[in-house]
């Protein structure tokens, strides 16, 4: 496997060029967010700031209630994770390890639904959430109030047990041996106990991966919250950031600070769980 040094050097140069394109936007927005105001609009550009300031971060929090939006987004993303892990693993386990009539047909329908474009269900979901009976001022027939609209449930419930979560967990449980199940059954354990005490602890890597995906999806989602949440106190960080860019006289310092704040939780999650991240994508990728 001897390749010429020139060829190797070219590959390296190419790799480095790609990485620069991928990383420079982060670096540049970080520099913009910590440099003094008057230096932001200075030509020609200077890479090294003359001084450091946190004033843009302070201003970002003053212009937009980022603290509130941050905790709203966190709550929504965490609820998404909890629901998907629990419901996804329950049904994934059932589809993989339990036998019942209609199992394979139901699983196929669930899988096929992954292909339905989100835009089709968008408006009817709005309709359904608005007309859920007995909540948000609605009577038994679902008329009168706003149903679940403008509550966090309007964002949580439609994504609470996605086809992807079920599919992902099923693939994992299929790969685990069934012997454990047989043995426990002979010893007289119930199915719920077998699922919870034996298979769930083994599924930790899969749960971690799915958790990361779900958190990322929940944290980054935009169109759903945009439609379902109108109450300013319920807005998410993505909505806040988008509203921020609507400002006519854009203040790029605070804007870059805001954009970075919106990325930080995912970045930390990624750095902590990098191993699972890549494994998880590899896993779903090859199964696709």
């Amino acid at each position: 496997m001897k390749q010429s040094y020139g060829y190797q050097a070219m590959l390296y140069l190419f790799s480095i060029a790609i990485c620069l394109v991928m990383v420079i936007p982060f670096v540049w927005s970080l520099i913009t967010s910590i440099r003094p105001d008057e230096e932001i609009f200075m030509l020609p550009i200077r890479w090294i700031p003359s001084g450091l300031t946190v004033s843009h971060y302070v201003k970002a929090f003053e212009l937009v209630p980022f603290g509130l939006y941050f905790s709203n987004s966190f709550y929504l993303a965490m609820m998404g994770v909890l629901f998907n892990l629990l419901l996804g693993s329950l049904s994934g386990y059932a589809f993989a390890k339990l036998h019942f009539r209609g199992r394979d047909t139901m699983f196929k329908i669930l899988l096929a639904a992954m292909m339905i474009p989100g835009v089709v269900t968008l408006i009817p979901q709005f309709f359904v959430l608005k007309h859920i009976p007995f909540v948000g001022g609605n009577d038994w027939s679902g008329v009168g109030g706003n149903g679940l609209l403008n509550t966090f449930w309007a964002v949580i419930l439609p994504g609470a047990s996605g086809s992807f979560a079920v599919f992902f967990m099923r693939q994992f449980f299929v790969s685990l041996p069934s012997d454990l199940q047989e043995v426990s059954r002979i010893e007289g354990s119930g199915e719920l106990r077998i699922y919870w005490n034996i298979y769930m602890p083994l599924a930790k890597p899969a749960l971690a991966t799915l958790g990361i995906f779900t958190f990322q999806a929940g944290w980054n989602s935009f169109l759903g919250p945009l439609i379902m949440l109108n109450d300013p106190a319920k807005k998410t960080i993505q909505l806040g950031l988008a509203a921020f860019t609507y400002n006519k006289q854009v203040d790029f310092g605070p804007l870059m600070a805001g954009a970075l704040i919106a990325v930080v939780p995912i970045l930390i999650l990624f750095l902590l769980l990098q191993k699972y991240f890549v494994q998880g994508i590899a896993f779903t990728g090859t199964k696709g």
Partner: protein
């Protein structure tokens, strides 16, 4: 035997119990909405008052709505650029970062980094980078003697910018998927191909590419579904401008449905768009199958 059937009854009861919450949510938030979408597209539903059956009026209106056709043209133009480029770039990155070279982990991480951002955050950062006067992109271009355009405000460049930003944000994820697919090619195959005198292109063309066919199918299908539903980046970067040149169909559906409250009409559009997505997905499936028989 009695105990066995009791056991299997218990098992199937528990099976149904386990899937009940998922199926319940699935019916309420997927099955019913899909049926309802079809029904609503034949009504003039506007949230507030009306909900009358008006037949195919929405679809007739759709056919005569120039903005709808413009948005469709926009997303098709976007897709035609975005999908092949996405596959070519992410595959090249995977091939480039496949071998265990020094620093390859760093390269992979850097390549993956943008996929962690949201469409909104990515767009926000790029608004600044693409700023015509103070943006980094035009500044760098001026260093090599090119006067960059006002990227987000001029006609062909606005859509090209969106293509670029969405590529920046998504090629990393597909690179990882391709890297996973490449794990399926044992190293010794490359070694022996080399011994047989195959050059880099030949071993890619006759080994890597066929092995990656299922991965490419997966990546292209997901790209089609995503690309034709472009929204976040267009909403933040250009707000559909200039002159509707970056207004996407989902953007228009959002405006008609939730801005004008013309939900029936918006649903007709959503249905039309998903039919188009379906056609393209089937086409993609067919394309992939046909290729296989050639090889």
């Amino acid at each position: 035997m009695a105990s066995v059937s009791k056991l299997s009854r218990h098992q199937s009861r528990m099976g149904y119990l386990f899937i009940t919450p998922t199926i319940f949510l699935f019916v309420i938030f997927t099955i019913i909405p899909v049926i309802m979408a079809l029904y609503l597209s034949f009504t003039n539903y506007d949230i507030v008052s009306k909900n009358d059956f008006i037949g195919i009026d929405n679809y007739k209106r759709l056919a005569d709505d120039p903005i709808f056709w413009t948005t469709l043209k926009n997303v098709l133009f976007y897709s035609v650029l975005y999908i092949p480029l996405n596959i070519i770039i992410s595959l090249s990155m995977a091939v480039l970062f496949m071998r265990k070279r020094i620093g390859v982990k760093l390269f992979r991480t850097a390549g993956y980094l943008p996929t962690l951002t949201s469409g909104v955050a990515a767009a926000t950062v790029w608004i600044w980078l693409l700023n015509p006067e103070y943006g980094l992109v035009n500044e760098l271009l001026s260093k090599i003697g090119i006067t960059g355009p006002s990227w987000l405000a001029e006609m062909p460049y606005a859509m090209l910018s969106i293509v670029f930003v969405t590529l920046w944000q998504s090629v990393g994820a597909n690179m990882i998927i391709y890297l996973a697919g490449l794990n399926g090619v044992p190293d010794h195959l490359y070694e022996s191909a080399k011994l047989d005198g195959a050059n880099a292109w030949q071993s890619f063309r006759y080994m890597t590419w066929p092995v990656l066919r299922p991965t490419t199918f997966f990546v292209s299908t997901m790209s089609i579904i995503g690309a034709l539903q472009l929204f976040d980046q267009a909403f933040v970067l250009t707000k559909g401008g200039p002159a509707n040149s970056t207004k996407t169909t989902v953007y228009y559906i959002y405006q008609q449905g939730f801005g004008q409250l013309q939900m029936g009409y918006a649903d007709a559009m959503a249905f039309a768009l998903s039919l188009i997505i379906l056609v393209f997905s089937l086409l993609n499936m067919k394309l992939n199958k046909e290729d296989e028989s050639i090889i």
